[in-house]
C-alpha cells in the first residue's frame, strides 16, 4: 500500500470536505515523518515508505469511519439552550407585557451579552452544523450590544436607580455617546478577532499564538457573561427597592429632576398649579452650569403608561441646546416604576388623570461661545389637557403622548452679561 493509498482510503470514509483536508494534511505529514525517520536509519526511501504505511495499520477504512463519526455534524443542544436562555426572557416581555422591549436596555443588555458569550464559547468548542450562524450573528450585533452594555452601566451608576449619586455622576451622560462608540468598536473588534480565530481553529489552521489568543478571548467573554449576570441581579434588586414616585417635599432637589407624574390619583388644577409654582420657586440647585446648558430646551414624551397589575412608565427626554444659531440635540430614555396603589381598576373603567408636571423647569440658555454661559432664563411648565386612559383586562393600558413645549421661543439674539 503506498502512502497515497492509505491516506486516500481513510479519506474515502469521511464525508466533510473540510475534515478531509484537515486529516489528509495530518496523515501525510505523519507518513512523511515516519519515512524520513526510517530513511535516516539507513532504510531505502521506497522501503521506508512501505514500512511507514505498514506501521499505520491494516484497516484504513475503519479509521476513516471512526474519524467520520467523530466529525459528523450534530445538533448542538447546548447552543440551542444558550439561545433560549438569552431570547426567551426578552420574548416573554415583548409578548406578555407589551413593553417596548427594543428600548429596554436594562433587561436586554445582560441577557444578550450572556447569550452571545455562550454562543461564542460553545461554537469554539463544538463542531456543529449550526456553527456559522451563531458565529456571524454576534459579529453583526456586536456594536449594538456594546452600546447596550455601556448604557446599562451608565444608568446604574449615574443615578436612575441610585439617584443619590446622580449629581456626582451627572456629567457621565455627556460622554455617553463617545463611550458607547469606543466600547462598541473595541468589543466589535474582539468579536471579529474571535470569529477569525475560531474559523482558523475549525479549519485546522490555527497557530500556537492564535490558540493562546483564543483562550484569552474566551476568558474575556466568560468574564463578561458573569459580569452581565451580576449586573442583571444588581439591577433587579435595586429596581425592586427603588421607587421614584410620587414627588414630595421631603425628596431631595436631585430627585425633583426626575419624574413628577403621579398616577395614584387625579390631581386637581390647584394642586398642579401649586406643584409647578413650588418647583419653579425652588429649582434644583445641585445641577452645575454645564447641566443647565444641556437642559436649555427640554421636553419630554411619555410613550406608555400602564397601571393595574403592573405599571411601567417609559419616557424619552429630549434636550435641544441652541447657541447663537448653532443647535445640538440630545435624547435619552428613562424608565420609572409607578407605584400602583389603585385597586379599583377593572375592565371597562375609564380613568382620567392629569400629569402634574414633567419637568420642574424649562430654561433657555444664552451663551457666550467663548466664555461659557452668560444667562439662563427659566420658563414655567405648562400643563396640557387631561389624558384619558382606557382599562383593558385586569389593568389600565394606554398609549399616550405628553408633550411640553417651551412656552416661548428661545431668544435668538441673546445679550451677554
Amino acid at each position: 500500500m503506498s502512502e497515497d493509498n492509505y491516506t486516500r482510503q481513510v479519506l474515502e470514509g469521511i464525508e466533510s470536505k473540510r475534515v478531509k483536508r484537515l486529516i489528509e494534511a495530518e496523515l501525510e505529514n505523519h507518513l512523511a515523518e515516519a519515512s524520513a525517520a526510517l530513511t535516516d536509519l539507513g532504510c531505502p526511501p521506497e522501503d521506508a515508505a512501505n514500512r511507514a504505511n505498514a506501521a499505520m495499520g491494516e484497516n484504513p477504512e475503519a479509521v476513516g469511519a471512526q474519524l467520520n463519526a467523530i466529525h459528523r455534524g450534530r445538533t448542538a443542544l447546548r447552543l440551542l439552550l444558550a439561545f433560549a436562555a438569552g431570547t426567551l426572557p426578552v420574548l416573554s416581555l415583548a409578548l406578555l407585557d407589551g413593553i417596548a422591549t427594543s428600548q429596554d436596555h436594562i433587561l436586554f443588555a445582560p441577557g444578550f451579552l450572556l447569550e452571545f458569550s455562550l454562543l461564542l464559547y460553545v461554537s469554539a468548542r463544538k463542531r456543529t452544523r449550526v456553527y456559522l450562524f451563531p458565529a456571524l450573528f454576534p459579529a453583526a450585533g456586536a456594536v449594538w450590544l456594546c452600546t447596550l452594555i455601556y448604557t446599562e452601566a451608565a444608568r446604574l451608576f449615574t443615578g436612575e436607580l441610585l439617584y443619590y449619586v446622580e449629581a456626582a455622576f451627572a456629567d457621565t451622560y455627556v460622554s455617553s455617546t463617545a463611550g458607547m462608540a469606543v466600547c462598541g468598536v473595541v468589543l466589535a473588534a474582539v468579536w471579529c478577532a474571535s470569529f477569525l480565530l475560531i474559523t482558523a481553529l475549525r479549519c485546522g489552521q490555527i497557530t500556537k499564538r492564535g490558540l493562546v489568543c483564543l483562550r484569552v478571548l474566551r476568558g474575556i467573554f466568560l468574564g463578561a457573561a458573569a459580569a452581565a449576570l451580576c449586573l442583571l441581579a444588581v439591577t433587579a434588586v435595586l429596581r425592586s427597592q427603588c421607587s421614584f414616585l410620587p414627588i414630595s417635599a421631603e425628596k431631595s432637589s436631585i430627585f425633583r429632576r426626575w419624574y413628577l407624574i403621579n398616577a395614584e390619583r387625579e390631581l386637581t388644577d390647584d394642586e398642579i398649579r401649586a406643584l409647578v409654582d413650588e418647583l419653579n420657586a425652588a429649582p434644583p440647585e445641585d445641577v452645575n452650569t454645564e447641566t443647565k446648558l444641556r437642559y436649555a430646551d427640554t421636553w419630554m414624551t411619555v410613550l406608555k403608561i400602564e397601571t393595574g397589575a403592573g405599571t411601567l412608565e417609559k419616557s424619552r427626554e429630549y434636550v435641544r441646546i441652541e447657541n447663537n444659531g448653532c443647535a445640538a440635540n440630545e435624547s435619552r430614555d428613562h424608565n420609572a416604576r409607578l407605584r400602583n396603589e389603585r385597586g379599583d381598576l377593572v375592565s371597562g373603567t375609564e380613568v382620567t388623570f392629569r400629569y402634574a408636571a414633567l419637568y420642574p423647569f424649562l430654561c433657555a440658555a444664552e451663551c457666550d461661545p467663548e466664555n461659557g454661559i452668560a444667562a439662563v432664563t427659566r420658563y414655567p411648565v405648562q400643563t396640557e389637557e387631561p389624558i384619558r386612559l382606557q382599562a383593558h383586562g385586569d389593568g389600565l393600558r394606554a398609549q399616550i403622548t405628553i408633550r411640553i413645549d417651551r412656552p416661548q421661543p428661545p431668544p435668538k439674539d441673546f445679550s451677554l452679561y
Binding site: L27, H30, E33, G57, N59, V63, Q66, G204
Partner: protein
Amino acid sequence: MKVSKELLKGTAATLVLSVLAGGDLYGYGIVKTLQARSENVFSMNEGTLYPILHALEEQGCLESYWEEAEGRKRKYYHVTKKGLKMLRENKEEWEYFSAGVGRVLNYV
C-alpha cells in the same frame, strides 16, 4: 511479549493524555514517545492514534495547532484543563483496578 490489542484499547486515550501532559506533541512524536516510555511494550497501529486524538479534541480534552519545526509543518496537540482532569481520574481508576487485579492474580 506482545500486549493484547484489547488491553490497549481501553487505556489508549489515557496513555495519549499522559504523554501529552508532559508537553505538546504531534502525531508521530506521540507514537514514538509511547513506544519509548513503555520500552516497546505498546506498539499501536499508528493510524488508530488519530481517531483517539480527534475524539479527545472533540471532547475538549485536547486542543491542536499547527507549527513549523525542522522544516515541517506539524499539527501539535495540547492537553486542556479538562484533559488533565480526565487523566487524573483515569489514572486513579486504573490504579484502583490494577491493584484489584493484582490481588486476585496473586492470591494463593
